[in-house]
Assembly symmetry: C2
Homo-oligomer: 295 residues x 2
DNA sequence: GCCCGAGCGAACGAAAACGATCATTTCTGG
DNA sequence: CCAGAAATGATCGTTTTCGTTCGCTCGGGC
């Protein structure tokens, strides 16, 4: 028995049972697909377009779904890590190119240890679909491989940093102490002649453990990181086997890196970067973009 | 015709450098947001609507994005775990109601250990925004809390099962041995008079460790789980403090649960289930939900 | 029986999004 | 330097979608 007939302005329109069930089904549908068009929902729920619209209005007001012209988006708890939202396009082009160069140097069958950080994340994206073993302390990276059947995934545990989504703390370090990987891909907040710096005290310890666990160490860092220190010292340059950066790196730095005995790979940010993970037909170098010859 | 190649679609028009960069930025934008309207993209990229449409056509053909009327969806590798995609609407209504009842019985400030599983995931969703400490071995659950500043998150490490996204293995168990939580919320693949069963051998061990780490144990399981065994035995009913299920549970089972000394909460699936976790939008004006569309 | 509210479906004008076309600018290559 | 191709931005007619309104049915309470 629903008690109605309030003279006060009722705070909550209580829908009937059927309506509620339908809306529940609707949001289930949207949640699974991420997006659904009006037609999809009409077909799925077997009611008229008007009813769907009304449901959508209600659900949007409730905050569960977000309407768009032509459909609905699921709005329930989207985990967004701030660090990954701040995109500086220029840097991203560099990060991408750097990531591509690093990913190329990882062979199938390897065990790769991936650090947190956006550049490392790009490396991870390029490794999705490859037959490798992945060890990481980064939640976003883990998500990339979680549903991958071709790759094995080992996640380091511990306290999860809300800002960056990486696992920190003694547990992660302890687990790392018992692992050995062929390659570690590390990021850095700053690089000087003395070595790598990072912004998080606990993360520095974890990264030191990562260095100890690795057969070889790749460091990916765009040129803006050079000459900058950060909160804590992580490691000297001598621990690094390969450093990948972009062409913004000055000659002085290149010499300094070489002097430290570190292999250096410098990539061009913009030009010959394949659009996305899809390496399509043209695999050849089109530094001289030979278009179709015209008569 | 001259070109007699069997490449049905045209051999990839190679776009210029600028176009490629812009499209790269575009898909970055879409990837981060999951969805973007035409207007969003015009504003973000600073080009005309026509250009955006052309880019979208190209990207859709490439398979990177999926157009919808009014915007774009990211179509790249979305980490979807199979288990969470199988939607059985009836069961989901029950899972949801069960989850709500379990979440109600967790107080702010508690340390909660959350198992993997879809019902547990629903519990986790309802806990987002609360001031609690969360410990979990489930990647999907961890994602819910990763960007939450109000909740502390501890992730158990180990080998990640591709199908369910939970961390397994000795490392997870070992870490659990050193933790103590106020409440453990556990799921089960089957429940008999003897106790809980689960479908994964390693997971059973992890869950046993979870039981040992807990002050009190909640088990969430819809009525279809009762009377079913699964691969491995996890624990007897005596380890459980509270069992939450739905009204589909037969009287015999209710008696049996009670006889085992387990508190039982039975919830009605469809009727009085608050649709989603958001209880906050109490408005006293139910006029048209005029959603603003600022051009 | 009668009233009344809730919910649904259909219809219609308004607003938007779409695709196609075309003129202009930019880039490339000879 | 010139020519042609590529890319862009604007316009326009068409299609889709949106929001509103109206009539209808179903149930419960009086």
């Amino acid at each position: 028995m629903v008690s109605f007939n309030h003279n006060a302005p009722s705070p909550w329109e209580i829908p009937g049972v059927q309506t509620r069930q339908r809306r529940s089904r609707l949001i289930d549908f949207v949640r699974v697909r991420g997006f659904a068009s009006l037609d999809d929902l009409v077909r799925e729920l077997g009611v008229s377009e008007s009813t769907i619209r009304r449901d959508l209005d209600a659900l949007e007001e409730q905050g569960t779904a977000k309407r768009t012209h032509g459909g609905v988006l699921y709005a329930g708890s989207h985990a967004r890590l701030p660090e990954f939202d701040e995109r500086q396009p220029a840097h991203w082009a560099a990060k991408r190119a750097i990531a591509a160069a690093a990913a190329e140097r990882i062979d199938d069958g390897e065990t790769v240890l991936l650090d947190g950080g956006t550049t490392t994340y790009e490396v991870a994206r390029l490794l999705v679909g490859r037959s490798i073993q992945v060890v990481t302390n980064s939640l976003p990276v883990a998500n990339l491989f979680a549903s991958e059947s071709r790759a094995d995934l080992v996640l380091l545990g511990g306290y999860v940093s809300p800002r960056t989504g990486v696992c920190l703390g003694p547990y992660a370090n302890e687990l790392l102490g018992r692992l050995h990987v062929t390659t570690t891909v590390l990021s850095a907040a700053g690089i000087t002649a003395e070595g790598l710096y990072n912004a998080h005290l606990l993360l520095a310890e974890t990264e030191q453990a990562m260095l100890r666990a690795a057969g070889q160490v790749f460091v990916v860092a765009d040129s803006s990181k050079f000459g900058r220190k950060s909160l804590t010292f992580v490691s000297g340059l001598d621990s690094i086997d390969l450093l990948v950066s972009d062409t913004g790196l000055s000659t002085e730095w290149r010499q300094q890196i070489a002097a430290a005995g570190v292999d250096l790979v410098v990539v061009e940010p913009a030009p010959n970067e394949p659009l996305d993970g899809n390496h399509d037909s043209h695999r050849d170098d089109h530094s001289k973009p030979s278009r179709e010859r015209h008569t």
